[in-house]
């Protein structure tokens, strides 16, 4: 176990009385790519700062590699940070920035030089070694920050939205690069992002945060397919949400009756979800069909009219107004020419695979 956070709470002196972090319990494993995902202001940076040692928890304990670290200053923790705002040393060149950690560790110069070069090659900044930070673009600065934190070979690397300033192509490349790097070095990564795509594609596990609380911890698949709260279902990926209540009839599959009266077929509902108040379905799990063709299909009982259509190339997103009044989005992959065939105004039936509709409680 690399990091154990036990009932961590943080209230800033002089800040609001509402805790910025509220009873956080987390275990992060060795060699894990662990992501903290949450909207702006939910406390992600604060949590990283607690682990790095810049802030102290108001209550709770932090253990690094089995040892409590309350009294350990940041420079004595085997943890390096890629800061959200880079925080490069303005009076040092790129190369000096990257070599800073190794110099502080008093490594001999002949050892540091090749390491700097290696790191700069990794982040593709070989040519800029002698520039000063103010002579770099935002994305270049971010990569220097990454190289600087990595060069010192931490056991844990904290990354605070390290890809946010990059253009989308470079970001995609760096995602793959980072993931490979993490796997090859065996360094535990704690990666902060508010981009769910980033979180899903890179992480071994994700913790979803909202307003200082952990909503759910799990693998990307867990988080996306089996969200346990409305927040997680809506924050991660696109979702159609319905209010209503569960109907269980003996000898029949459970169903969800929406407030407008539509009946949604449910798969196996988890036992702890006894009184769900919301049902949801991912747009890509829906199919549309001709009302007549699907009339007898038990999975296609929802009927509606296409009211809007967004052609995205790979997919088309259809907005379907259901009979009861709810609007539903269905994302249909354009695998062949006939897939893009419903026009605005067309009457359709919506078909969902068994288990596509899921439920969560109202309170969560």
């Amino acid at each position: 176990m690399t990091i154990e956070l036990k009932s961590i709470s943080k209230i800033f002196a002089g800040g609001s009385a509402h805790p910025v972090l509220d009873d956080i319990n987390l275990t992060i494993n060795d060699n894990e790519f662990f992501t903290l995902l949450g909207p702006s202001g939910c406390g992600k940076t604060t949590l990283l700062r607690l682990i790095a040692g810049f802030e102290h928890p108001t209550s709770g304990t932090i253990e690094l590699f089995g040892e409590r670290v309350e009294g350990t200053p940041p420079n004595a923790r085997p943890v390096n940070t890629v800061f959200q705002h880079y925080a490069l040393f303005p009076h040092q060149t790129v190369a000096q920035n990257v070599g800073f950690g190794l110099r502080m560790l008093r490594r001999p110069a002949p050892e540091i030089e090749p390491e700097i070069e290696r790191m700069l090659r990794l982040v593709r900044l070989e040519g800029l070694a002698h520039r000063y930070p103010h002579q770099l673009s935002g994305g270049q600065q971010q990569r220097v920050a990454l190289a600087r934190a990595l060069a010192a070979r931490p056991r844990v690397l904290l990354l605070d939205e390290p890809l946010s300033a990059l253009d989308s192509k470079l970001r995609d490349e760096m995602r793959v690069e980072l993931k490979l790097l993490q796997r090859n070095t065996g360094i535990t990564f704690i990666f902060v992002t508010h981009d769910q795509g980033e979180a899903l594609s890179m992480s071994d596990r994700i913790a979803v945060l909202s307003e200082g609380r952990i909503q759910q911890v799990g693998t990307p698949d867990d988080i996306y397919e089996r969200p346990r709260s409305r927040f997680v279902a809506q924050f991660v990926g696109e979702t159609n949400v319905f209010e209503g209540k569960l109907i269980r009839l003996p000898g029949k599959q459970p169903e969800f009756k929406t407030s407008s009266g539509a009946l949604l077929p449910l798969g196996d509902t988890p036992a702890d979800d006894d009184n769900p108040a919301l049902a949801f379905v991912r747009p890509e799990k829906l199919r549309l069909g001709n009302p007549d063709d699907l009339a007898s299909d038990p999975q296609a009982r929802l009927r509606g009219v296409v009211t809007n259509k967004l052609y995205l190339g790979t997919d088309t997103v259809y907005y379907v107004d259901l009979e009861g009044g709810e609007t539903l989005r269905a994302r249909i992959q354009n695998a062949s020419a006939i897939d893009n065939r419903f026009d605005v105004g067309a009457a359709v039936r919506v078909r969902a695979e068994e288990g596509a509709f899921r439920t969560v409680g109202r309170s969560t």
Binding site: F54, P74, N75, V79, H91, M104, Y132, H134, A152
Partner: protein
């Protein structure tokens, strides 16, 4: 890319009208800075009149006088280090005052810069408060504090540190203390302005990368503070070098500094050209220091621009 076709020279008016906008600035600089300087330099090459003032006759006597003594009988020159000594003593004292101000001023400025905003403003206000009283009165206060039955002796004797008053006044220590007391705010203010702008996150980044507090200071804070240190040091050093109040009041008038010497030439000695020459020498010395300072602070200066 080689430039094959030279770009056409933009047509320039001989005297663009926009230059006229510079006129007020040029006039102010000319009237208040250049003109007095020209007068001083001119006077330093003239012959003193018996009762003050000058005789309009070219002479380098004033400068010769600084280093040499002219024998009254056979007009031969003998090297005389007396004035040079006064000059060097002044420099030493000014350097000491600057160093002490820096040692006291840096932690103070850093402390203030890291307080919350409201405290900052109050503390800076307190730092500037002494400026509201006249320098003469402030120097007199130092006298009151340091004299035999002054504050320092009373407290030390009250605490039983010693029983007979120690003489703090009328020596180099008293002059140094007076200079530090007078000019410390000049050190603190530029340092504060500099440190206040420092990005605290950069300090955190250094801590994060295994720097001990000491190395955070030498690697991150000090390079950032360098322009502030240079500015503060100059602001303390320059008036310290030219001071005449402090040696008069706290030095007891026994040991001259260059400031007194100049003052004397325009006063009782009635040797205006020599006074002007001394002022020019002092100015030249300060210019050399300024140029060195400018060269040293250039590198971080460019690195700071964003």
């Amino acid at each position: 890319m080689p430039e094959l076709i030279p770009a056409p020279e933009p047509k320039r008016e001989k005297f663009p009208k926009s230059r006229l906008l510079l006129l007020p600035a040029v006039l102010v600089i000319g009237f208040f800075l250049v003109l007095p300087l020209v007068i001083i330099i001119t006077y330093s090459f003239l012959v003193p009149a018996t009762f003050g003032g000058v005789v309009w006759q070219f002479s380098t006597e004033a400068y010769t006088q600084f280093l040499f003594e002219r024998d009254i009988f056979d007009e031969t020159l003998a090297f005389n280090a007396a004035y040079l000594q006064i000059f060097l003593r002044s420099v030493m004292l000014a350097v000491s005052a600057t160093v002490v101000s820096l040692i006291i001023g840096f932690p103070t400025a850093y402390f203030i810069a890291t307080r919350p905003d409201r405290q900052k403003n109050l503390l800076i206000f307190l730092i500037t408060l002494p400026f509201w009283t006249n320098l003469l009165i402030r120097t007199f206060c130092v006298l009151l504090i340091l004299r035999d039955d002054g504050l320092v002796n009373s407290i030390a004797i009250g605490l039983g540190l010693y029983s007979t008053p120690v003489t703090y006044l009328y020596n180099d220590f008293a002059m140094g203390a007076g200079l530090v007391y007078s000019y410390l705010p000049f050190m603190i203010l530029p340092l504060y302005a500099n440190l206040e702008r420092m990005d605290r996150r950069v300090v955190e980044a250094a801590y994060d990368l295994y720097a001990t507090p000491r190395r955070v200071f030498t690697e991150v804070i000090l390079p950032h503070a360098r322009p502030g240190i240079v500015a503060g040091s100059l602001l303390v050093f320059i008036p310290s070098l030219g001071t005449f109040l402090v040696p008069d009041m706290l030095g007891g008038g026994g040991k001259l500094l260059i400031g007194n010497l100049i003052q004397l030439q325009f006063g009782s000695s009635r040797n205006w050209p020599f006074g002007a020459a001394l002022a020019v020498i002092l100015l030249a010395a300060i210019l050399v220091v300024l140029m060195l300072a400018a060269r040293r602070s250039r590198v971080p200066d460019t690195a700071e621009r964003r």
